[in-house]
């Protein structure tokens, strides 16, 4: 399955609305101006996720994982390389970060940020699809990307797709890049894409 140009454009636009909301919450929370850059969206079979995220690095990554359920269900993750994770924590809190494995405070802040971002993305889809969605409590893991992906692959149907959204945070003249990964079944993804196209038609009619 691949995205058509118009599907991709529409998804970017929708996610951008969600990112705008997430940025606003984070700004309010931290008292500093936080912008989320326009996201870049891609779609891959879940089995190829490892390859498509290779740029994150071979070492440990921080991954905030949240399960969502309802008529459309799946896994949502925010993945940050350790440097980005530490930088983000320091920029948000003004506290020096320790290595992630040792720093429960850092992990907690990243969990909160990941939760805000993932809620914004998934919440947008929920609104769009007009279906109720419920969220599990997010957790954070520090492990290699391979481990993270292996867990995802093993946790469900192999015929699933991953929306990979590149998220750039801009704050205090710095830029930190993270990756939002939303894993959906073929059925959920199909429903989502249909809903996206309907949204485009609605929007066009309105304009």
């Amino acid at each position: 399955m691949t995205l058509t140009e118009s599907q991709r454009d529409a998804l970017v636009e929708l996610l951008n609305i969600g990112f705008g909301r997430a940025g606003a919450s984070l700004s309010k929370l931290t008292g500093q101006r936080i912008l989320l850059e326009v996201p870049v969206v891609d779609i891959h079979p879940v089995a190829q996720l490892d390859a498509s995220l290779r740029k994150v690095g071979a070492g440990n990554v921080a991954s905030v994982h949240q399960v969502f359920s309802g008529p459309v269900g799946g896994d949502a993750l925010l993945i940050l390389d350790p440097q980005a994770a530490s930088t983000l924590k320091e920029l948000l809190t003004d506290e020096p970060a320790l290595p992630l494995e040792l720093d429960a405070s850092s992990r907690e802040v990243l969990t909160e940020v990941g939760n805000i971002l993932l809620n914004a993305c998934i919440g947008t889809f929920g609104n769009l699809l007009r279906v109720p969605m419920s969220f599990a409590v997010p957790d954070i893991d520090v492990a290699t990307l391979r481990t993270v992906v292996a867990k995802l692959v093993a946790s469900g149907d192999a015929m699933r797709y991953a929306l990979v959204v590149t998220a750039g945070f801009k704050l205090r003249d710095a830029s930190v890049t993270g990756y939002v990964v939303i894993v959906l079944t073929v059925q959920s993804l199909t429903r989502l894409l249909i809903a996206v196209e309907e949204w485009v038609v609605r929007e066009e009619r309105l304009s």
């Binding site: 919450s25 320790l98 429960a104 405070s105 907690e108 909160e112 939760n115 419920s134 969220f135 997010p138």
Partner: protein, 533 residues
């Protein structure tokens, strides 16, 4: 076996009761209008509000600080189905502590409670993170301490490297002059003037190297606590005078004017004569070294309370402000680059501080800045009136005595050292017999019959029998065979301890190698005079 529904209900209510009374975190629920429905006893302790007082109250009215910190929004979103994480770093706390108590650091989590597919209320869990904060603080402190230790070690290692480079340069430079000239002198015969000049160069360079090595050894002795002061009451003016005499040639050669300004009637100080001289000499030669031709160095001494205040001011290069705090540190020179203009190991001022502090005094450096000269001030405690028993030592007489007719027995195993002794003593008229070991010395004394030996000069470190054994054997001889002849130790065992040991063993004097012939001659003259008196 199937469970009956009432069993399940019993277990569930027991679990709720456990969470209510024994949980290690705060748990409370609200309905969709955010009215509190349950409130466990942990929260009762943490907030000072008992379950009876909290249950039924509207949450946001009971805790206005929630809305003030934007947490009403989190509850709104929870009612819309979202889970909210409240990290300690971004929120500090969820619920305020009981009035008057220090705020407990907390983290929290707000979840929607759903039933039959719709949200029926919220569940909030609050945790105390004090312990975690303390652990992380400790970790940060340890990481910072490790980082500081690493930096200190790196600096120390760099300073040591610089010092070794300087040391090797400073030790080689005078050797170069000494070896160069000795090789030239050996190559053929030169006229008297050239030989005199060569010897002067050799002498100057060897002396410079001796100073370097003495400084280094002194510093090492101080570092290992092996230096002891022989304190007596001293007249500061006399000491400063001797130091000025020693530095004068260098000052003259550089066209630097050396002047003294002493207040009258200075009190005496309790100090070790040689060490105080070393302090003043170091400060003076340092001042001369860093003052350009045409400049001035002024030494002042004045009483100041219970101390004598000694100042050495110069019109020299001055000290950069950022280097001032480090001038008394070991191996430090403002310019440690290989292109630096001034020689030396950077030990002189470190020695000054160590020695002054050993005397119970203080030393400080001041400079208005680069190019504006500097002033070193030493404060030395004065002799207390009740301790002022001994009169101050007078400066040694400068005139060179002769040893005409005095018979000296020299015991030295090392040929070059022996030759220097013989040469310098014969030059002033002594009759010298030189032997290479203790055995020969005893034989010579027994054999010299009627021509009695007046004084024995002996090395300490010799193969087979050392100087101490020789002295012991010597004292066993009858008086007619020299059993009571005065003995002087001339040795490279040059510490204060060695000196003490030699004097205790019965040597009338201890002279450190390399020695100034003038001093040896004066000592011999004194020893012989004392015996005949």
């Amino acid at each position: 076996m199937t469970e009956r529904p009432d069993d399940i209900a019993t277990v569930e209510s027991a679990m709720l009761e456990w969470a209510q009374n024994h949980g290690d975190r705060g748990v409370f629920t609200t309905d969709t209008s955010l009215r509190i429905k349950s409130w466990n006893s942990w929260l009762g302790i943490a907030t000072g509000l008992s379950p009876a007082k909290a249950i039924g109250q509207p949450l946001l009215e009971l805790f206005p600080s929630l809305a003030e910190r934007g947490l009403d929004q989190a509850y709104k979103e929870a009612l819309a189905g979202q889970v909210k994480i409240l990290s300690h770093s971004l929120h500090r706390y969820v619920l305020p502590s009981a009035t008057g108590e220090e705020q407990m650091p907390q983290r929290g989590q707000i979840s929607p409670l759903t039933g039959k597919g719709r949200v029926v209320g919220t569940l909030t869990i609050v945790e105390d993170v004090s312990e975690r904060m303390a652990t992380e603080r400790e970790l940060r402190a340890r990481i910072a301490a490790a980082e500081r230790a690493r930096l200190t070690a790196e600096t120390a290692s760099r300073v040591k490297d610089e010092f070794l480079a300087t040391l090797s340069h400073e030790i080689r430079t005078p050797l170069n002059a000494v070896l160069g000239w000795t090789q030239i002198l050996q190559s053929r015969d030169f006229d008297k003037e050239t030989v005199r000049r060569a010897i002067e160069v050799i002498d100057r360079n060897a002396s410079a190297q001796l100073t370097l090595i003495s400084d280094m050894l002194d510093m090492a002795r101080i570092a290992t606590g092996k230096i002891r002061l022989e304190v007596v009451d001293l007249d500061v003016a006399t000491i400063v005078g001797s130091a000025m005499d020693a530095v004068q040639p260098a000052a003259t050669a550089k066209d630097v004017v050396l002047t003294a300004e002493f207040a009258p009637n200075l009190p005496t100080v309790r100090a070790d004569r040689d060490r105080l001289l070393q302090v003043v000499w170091n400060l003076l030669s340092n001042a001369v070294k860093f003052t350009d031709p045409g400049g001035r160095v002024i030494v002042g001494a004045a009483a100041s309370g219970n101390a004598v205040c000694l100042t050495v001011s110069d019109t020299g290069h001055g000290i950069p402000a950022q280097f001032l705090p480090q001038v008394f540190e070991r191996f430090k020179q403002a310019d440690a680059s290989s292109a630096r203009r001034h020689g030396g190991l950077g030990l002189g001022l470190a020695l000054v501080r160590e020695l002054v502090e050993m005397h119970g005094g203080t030393v400080k450096a001041e400079s208005p800045g680069v190019g504006q000269g500097s002033t070193f001030t030493v404060m030395l405690p004065v002799t207390r009136a009740d301790a002022a028993a001994a009169p101050p030592l007078a400066a040694a007489s400068a005139s060179m005595p002769t040893l005409g007719g005095i018979r000296v027995l020299v015991v030295e195993d090392e040929p070059d050292a022996r030759e220097i002794l013989v040469q310098s003593l014969t030059d002033v008229g002594a009759a010298v017999t030189a032997v290479t070991c203790a055995r020969e010395a005893l034989a010579a004394l027994r054999d010299d019959g009627n021509t009695h030996t007046d004084v024995v000069i002996t090395d300490i470190g010799m193969p087979d029998y050392d100087g101490y054994s020789l002295l012991k054997e010597l004292r066993k001889l009858p008086e007619a065979q020299g059993g009571r002849v005065p003995a002087i130790a001339v040795t490279a065992y040059a510490t204060v301890e060695d000196r003490r040991r030699a004097l205790e063993a019965g040597f009338v004097a201890h002279i450190a190698k390399p020695f100034a012939p003038k001093r040896l001659i004066a000592t011999i003259a004194r020893a012989v005079a004392a015996r005949s008196a």
